[in-house]
Every structure is written in structure tokens, then in C-alpha cells.
């Protein structure tokens, strides 16, 4: 099984991806994560304007068989959520890096960006898990 991991994104060990655009970070789960969960049937997203710390659980992702969590990759305020997922959670499966995005964060502390993984480092995490 080959998974897609776009090189322009940053990653977390817990299988989130992060797209940085200025002061805003878009976040979703990786192709590997959506595949591990299987058919996603419900995503519970946070309220907009909530401020959360890096590493805290921000969303729940329910598949037919399992439940996963989305972790805050960075400390910040939730400024937008992907409301389309309420009716089309399957977008997380079909387009994990596109229309299946979950939240946008206003970054509080840019120094935390240094803790995110490069695509190469994340691929190693996935390879280690697959064994």
C-alpha cells in the first residue's frame, strides 16, 4: 500500500498534517491515518474561537470500526472549521489533504513550528508503525 504525503506539508507523530500559510495553520489527518481508520462516518469538530494548547485533543474522528482523535499541532485559536464534514465525513477518506481538512488555527507561538516533522521524518514514523 502506497500512501501520499505531500512534501510541502508538516506532520505530527500522531498522524496529523499541517499546512502553514502566514499566521494560519490548516490541519487534517494524513492519508495513512484515514486508511488506518477506514470509512469515516462522523467528525466532531470544535467550536470556533476556542483556544487550545498544542497536544490537546481538538476533534474526534469516528470510522465504522474505530474512533480517532485530532491533536492540536500548535497552540492557538480555532478560527475556522470545515463544516462540510458534518454531512460529508467521507471527504476525509477521499481527499485527506484537500476538502477533508478539519480546522484552521491562528498560531500563537511560531517557535512551536520547529517541533513539527518534515515529510521525510514522518515517513519514517509510518514505516516504523507498519512493521
Amino acid at each position: 500500500m502506497e500512501y501520499r504525503f505531500p512534501s510541502e506539508l508538516k506532520y505530527l507523530q500522531t498522524h496529523e498534517w499541517v499546512r502553514i500559510e502566514g499566521n494560519v495553520a490548516s490541519v487534517g489527518i494524513t492519508d495513512y491515518a484515514q486508511h488506518q481508520l477506514g470509512d469515516i462516518v462522523y467528525v466532531e469538530l470544535p467550536e470556533v474561537n476556542t483556544t487550545l494548547n498544542k497536544g490537546s485533543s481538538v476533534a474526534e474522528i469516528e470510522s465504522v470500526k474505530a474512533v480517532g482523535e485530532l491533536m492540536m499541532p500548535l497552540t492557538g485559536k480555532i478560527i475556522e472549521i470545515n463544516n462540510i464534514l458534518a454531512d460529508k465525513p467521507e471527504l476525509v477518506n477521499s481527499s485527506p489533504y484537500g476538502s477533508g481538512w478539519m480546522i484552521k488555527i491562528e498560531i500563537s507561538d511560531k517557535s512551536e513550528l520547529n517541533d513539527l516533522l518534515s515529510v521525510e521524518a514522518y515517513k519514517e514514523v509510518v514505516n516504523a508503525e507498519k512493521k
Binding site: 477506514g38 462516518v41 462522523y42 465504522v64
Partner: protein, 362 residues
């Protein structure tokens, strides 16, 4: 880390198809090939093939088999006839369940029995230790034979092209010994999906040929994930969930299995007959959520803050496109339309008691 998991004769095929393999009752089994929802839909609209070779298969022979089963089983063997199968439970003296299973009468002195994978050793021992002086011999065929479920609205049409028996002549719960592309098989019109279909069993050496023949007809491989979502929609009990060694069949809604069997003593009879006539303090009901979320096993159920039970099985229904669940609750809250609260991790969601089965097309 996979250590010493048992493999069915089709293990290599599952891996080659890219299935996600999981430990189920000590077997490495495919939970899904590509998508549980697609496999579920294939069974509801076309046909699916499940490898259920992890399940147990016993042959019971001897002139006292019927007497023996009448003593062990809660259902009534007098309702059975040759070439027919029967669903039943065998229970402990306190009415809780050793296992639920299907047995087929091949002859008055020869029965084939299919039991749950996780209970094979326990069942074999339970049966053996209750034979006493009766003339019954039990053979465990589980490892020598391959078992497949072939389920879906097109299963008749597809299968008819391969077998030398008129499938229309086999009614639900009846079976035949016949040939599939020349391979001798046991074929029963039974299933666990709520859809018409068959369950077959045959010698291991033919496993890959039979699997390949069924797939070539246009059926989809279907894994344990779809098997579970299909049976939950159809509201079939799953051992370890709706029934186990602390829940009785009456509590689980299987009161229709408890037969009076006048003049015949059977294990668990006293308490089960009493429960059937007087009711039980707790019962299993169907549940939906009024809020968004997914019901899962073991979530606690409350009514006005008081804990009244728990979810025995829950999940997403691909057919109904919403969450469904079964809950074991105090009987006073079992009426349809009763609103309950269900603790979903850290929050409380509103649930409602609904009629079951959620979906069935047989």
C-alpha cells in the same frame, strides 16, 4: 505484533487482496479489504463472500444424538426434520449462555454443528462432559474444513450456475449436500447478514478454488467489519456482546428460542421458562441517537442521571446512514420512544429506544 495467530486456508488470499488483518478469537482475519461500507453495500445490493473458516464445525453421531441435544439445547429438536437446521443456545444451569449456534440434522443419528470461533474448545468440552452414558460421538472438523458465507440478493442467481442442486427447492434453514464445480460441499440457506444467502462448508483443499469461483461470479470479498455492521442492522445477537455467560437469551430478546419441551428436562430450563413467563429485570433494546455521534460497545446508559445499563453493540449503519446500537437496560425503560442519555466518552448524548430489527430483508 502478530504472534502465533491461527490462519484459515484463505489467509494468503486475504493478504494478497490487501486486506487489513486483525486478531479475532486467535485467528488472523480480514476486517476489511478496501472499505467496510462498500463491502456492506455489496451484500445488500449484490453478493459478498465471507471467510468464516475461523468458526467451529462439529459432527455429532450416534443413536442418542437427539436426546442429547434436547438436554443441552434450549430450542426444541422436535421442530427439526432431516435436511433442516436450527438456531439455538446452549445454556448454563443459571440460564446464561455457553454459546449460540446452528445445528443441522443430516440424519436422526448425525448432526452437523457450527459454533463461534472463540468458543470452539469450550463448546467441545461442554458437549463432551455432558454425554454421560449416551451413545454420542463428537468429532471436531473445524481445522479440516473451510467455511464460507455467500450472502446477498444475487446469491441464488450466482450460485445456481455452479451447483448441481435446484436452490429454489432449499428453503430457509434447510440444507443439501451437493457439488460446486464438481467439489462436494455442504450448503445451507442460512446467514448472519439479514439478507438472503447461503453458508457452505467443504474440505480445506478446495478452499482457494471455491473462493475463486464465487468471486468470479461477481461477488465481493467481505470482511469481519461488514459482517458485524450487517448483523447489527439485522439485530442478530453476537456472542460476547448481546449474549454471554452473564446474560440469558430471554434478556437478549431470544425468548422465542426458549421452548417448553413438555416432559423433557434441559440445562437452564427452570430459570429460562420462569424468565420467559415473568420477564426479566433487564432487556436488550434498539437505540438511535437524537444527537450526532456514534454508539459504541460499553457506553453507559442513563435515565435522568441514574445509570440504567450499557451498550452491548453499536456502530454506524451503512444502510440507514445513521448510528444504531443495542443496549441492555432496566426493563422499565424499554418502551419505544423512551428518551435516554448515553455517555459518549466525556459527554452525554440523547438516545431513544426504537424497534428492532433495524433492517432485515429475509
Amino acid at each position: 505484533m502478530i504472534t502465533d495467530l491461527k490462519k484459515t486456508p484463505l489467509y494468503d488470499i486475504h493478504v494478497k487482496l490487501g486486506a487489513k488483518m486483525v486478531d479475532f478469537a486467535g485467528f488472523s482475519m480480514p476486517v476489511q479489504y478496501e472499505s467496510i461500507i462498500k463491502e456492506h453495500e455489496a451484500v445488500r445490493t449484490n453478493a459478498g463472500v465471507f471467510d468464516v473458516s475461523h468458526m467451529g464445525e462439529f459432527l455429532l453421531e450416534g443413536k442418542d444424538v437427539i436426546d442429547f441435544l434436547q438436554y443441552i439445547m434450549i430450542n426444541d429438536l422436535n421442530l427439526l426434520e432431516p435436511s433442516k437446521g436450527q438456531y439455538s443456545c446452549m445454556c448454563y444451569e443459571n440460564g446464561t449462555v455457553v454459546d449460540d449456534l446452528v445445528y443441522y440434522e443430516e440424519a436422526p443419528d448425525r448432526f452437523r454443528m457450527i459454533v463461534n470461533a472463540g468458543n470452539i474448545e469450550k463448546d467441545f468440552q461442554w458437549l463432551t462432559e455432558h454425554i454421560g452414558t449416551k451413545n454420542v460421538k463428537i468429532t471436531n472438523l473445524s481445522k479440516e474444513r473451510c467455511r464460507l458465507a455467500f450472502q446477498g440478493p444475487k446469491s441464488d442467481e450466482y450460485l445456481q450456475s455452479l451447483v448441481d442442486v435446484d436452490l429454489a427447492s432449499i428453503n430457509r434453514f434447510f440444507f443439501a449436500h451437493c457439488n460446486l464445480s464438481g467439489i462436494p460441499i455442504f450448503l445451507a440457506r442460512t446467514g448472519y447478514t439479514g439478507e438472503r444467502g447461503f453458508e457452505i462448508s467443504f474440505d480445506n483443499i478446495h478452499a482457494k478454488n471455491v473462493w475463486g469461483a464465487l468471486i468470479n461470479l461477481g461477488a465481493s470479498p467481505a470482511g469481519l467489519g461488514a459482517r458485524d455492521s450487517l448483523r447489527l442492522e439485522a439485530t442478530y445477537s453476537l456472542y460476547g456482546h448481546e449474549i454471554n455467560d452473564s446474560i440469558t437469551p430471554v434478556e437478549a430478546g431470544l425468548f422465542w428460542l426458549v421452548k417448553p419441551k413438555e416432559g423433557i428436562d434441559y440445562i437452564g430450563k427452570k430459570i429460562l421458562i420462569k424468565q420467559k413467563s415473568q420477564g426479566t429485570d433487564r432487556v436488550i433494546v434498539g437505540l438511535n441517537l437524537l444527537d450526532r455521534g456514534i454508539l459504541r460497545e460499553n457506553f453507559k446508559i442513563f435515565k435522568d442521571g441514574e445509570e440504567i445499563g450499557y451498550i452491548t453493540s453499536g456502530g454506524y449503519s451503512p444502510t440507514l446512514k445513521k448510528t444504531i446500537g443495542l443496549g441492555l437496560i432496566k426493563k422499565q425503560f424499554k418502551e419505544e420512544g423512551t428518551q435516554l442519555e448515553i455517555e459518549v466518552r466525556n459527554k452525554s448524548l440523547r438516545g431513544i429506544v426504537v424497534p428492532t430489527p433495524f433492517y432485515r430483508n429475509v
